[in-house]
Amino acid sequence: MSHGSDIKSLVWGGVLLLLAACVPLVANGYWMSIALTIAMFTVLATSWALFSGPTHYISLATAAFFGVGGYLVGTGMSDYNMGFWTMVVIAPIVGAVLAFLIGIATLRLSGVYFVIFTLGLAEMIRTLVSWIQNNFTGSRGLYVLTDLTEEDIYIYLLIVAAVVYLAGWWVNRSRLGFALRIIGSDETVASHVGINTATSKVILFTFSGFVAALVGVLIAPRYTYIEPNGVFSPEISFIVVIMALLGGTGRLWGPIVGVIPFALLQEFINAYYSNYSMLVLGIAFLVIVYFLPNGVVGRIEQALAKRRRSTW
């Protein structure tokens, strides 16, 4: 099976990783910060694409899991005096359990209901958490105080990115990856060739929940102060979807192609035209749907294939 399963994509992945690892050596504070954002979204977008790419189920739940990670580390450290690294272990497990429950409840339904469900999920959790905070635990701030530098977090995220990439590479070569592609092609046929569609979908969705929560924990020290409105912001979900679709979910490295330019664009917009950030997101969605349905990578591959055919 193709689609990024060959040694070439491993090699490219390794090269990218090495290049990325050199960034802390040359970057100053401002660029390091941007690199950190890029690393964060790379992990989120790549793990998102592992599930949503082949199945075409658009998950908007990223913010929910990310928020769970951020919130748990905040409350764990502030309210319960737990260590940072303890939360690094606990939060992703909670994220995975949440994803698992949501998965088995909604993945047996059609794609539309799933999207809508995930759309409301982050908002719902945010409302609940805010309410609980305001009425029971008091509006004390959630502080995540560590002595981790931006460079440290960056390296940890790179490690997670490498693991996600490897996992994706392995899945693509496996029966599970094949099953997901068939599900995305025609779900009825998938069940008629013996695939337990629900199980396949739930496994990958749970994995994406685990990773998003992990990212939420790891990035928390950067912000130091955690509040529900920030970590559960639905915008995170939308941005991840845009980045992954913009790059293209057909290849393992597709999302990365979307993350880097869009992250830079976001930086630019937020700095000079912050009133227009929503507009930019909207235009990005429209561009993807009408001009880049398979992402930039998909579009380039189409063009290359056409060239190859015309030279026969």
């Binding site: 409840a105 909604t106 469900f117 759309l119 409301g120 609940l128 950030s277 969605f285 429209l286 009408y290």
Partner: protein, 287 residues
């Protein structure tokens, strides 16, 4: 008692709004996530015109309705028909239309925020009105009455006229409708336009008693969706019952528990429906 009547009033108004999305998803098969933004547009228009010219929102409603009809018709023809043509199956179309309407909703919010970024509310008919000894806000009652009027008119149109019947046919089966000579693309465009118009009118009504701002569209979209899915897509009885249930639950939660939890309550209902009866109260069981 007070809760029940307020809940009913709210539910009735919700029904009108959900009706709009029901036409767009049930007939035109487009999951329009920008639906809420058209509601907010209607509300914003009502606010402006009331504040600037002191013209009644009811009148505004009659003006923005046709404007929204035309606008939505254009959107369907220019932006959504290409997706319908290009989609290989219903699932493909649904994903595409979700992403496209999502994009539209953000663009609309972005535009609205730059026009009027803060909350807007105005005082219209905010007087007390007595029913069975308890007082209610007159504006809620008026909104409810108009919602019922409009809804009733629409219902009559759908069930007593030929084009209405054609639309109901398309919502049951696009393929079969085409086979019996119904012009499905035209009906879909009409349904989409109608749906948008109804939603916008609902927005002007709701603006008389709820404070809104440019970004709340998505919440109304979600509520409309919850109602449609709870009632069964395409089914009108279901829609009305579901709207009333939602209105009652929200009002109860707001009064007895906490107004901040209304969305969570609505969402909880949604989860229960999805888990136990995904086809809704009156929908056809998915085979």
């Amino acid at each position: 008692m007070d809760i029940i009547i307020t809940g009913l009033l709210l539910g009735g108004t919700y029904a009108l709004i959900a009706f709009g999305l029901n036409m767009q998803y049930g007939v035109a098969k487009i999951m329009n996530l920008a639906n809420g933004e058209f509601l907010v547009l209607g509300a914003l228009a009502a606010f402006w015109i009331f504040v600037v010219d002191a013209i009644s929102p009811i009148l505004t409603m009659l003006i923005v309705g046709p404007m929204s009809f035309f606008g939505n018709w254009l959107i369907y023809q220019l932006l959504l028909r290409p997706l319908v043509r290009r989609a290989k199956n219903q699932g493909h179309l649904e994903v595409d239309s979700i992403l496209a309407t999502f994009g539209m909703s953000f663009v609309l919010v972005g535009i609205m925020v730059s026009i009027h970024g803060e909350y807007f509310t105005y005082s219209y008919l905010a007087e007390p009105f007595e029913i069975v000894g308890e007082t209610f806000a007159l504006n809620r009652i008026v909104a409810f009455c108009f919602a019922v009027l409009l809804g009733g008119a629409l219902w009559l149109w759908l069930y007593l006229t030929r084009p209405g019947m054609a639309m109901r046919a398309v919502s049951v089966s696009t393929e079969a409708s085409g086979l019996v000579g119904i012009n499905v693309p035209r009906m879909s465009a009409l349904a989409f336009a109608f749906g948008g118009a109804v939603t916008t009118m609902g927005g002007t009504l709701i603006s008389t008693f709820i404070t809104l701002d440019a970004s709340v569209g998505v919440i109304f979209t979600m509520k409309a969706l919850i109602i449609i899915i709870m009632g069964g897509v395409g089914d009108i009885r279901g829609l009305i019952i579901a709207s009333i249930i939602l209105g009652l639950v929200e009002t109860t939660v707001a009064r007895l528990i906490d107004p901040g939890l209304t969305l969570a309550a609505a969402y909880a209902i949604f989860v229960l429906v999805l888990l136990f009866r995904p086809q809704g109260l009156f929908g056809r069981k998915p085979t």
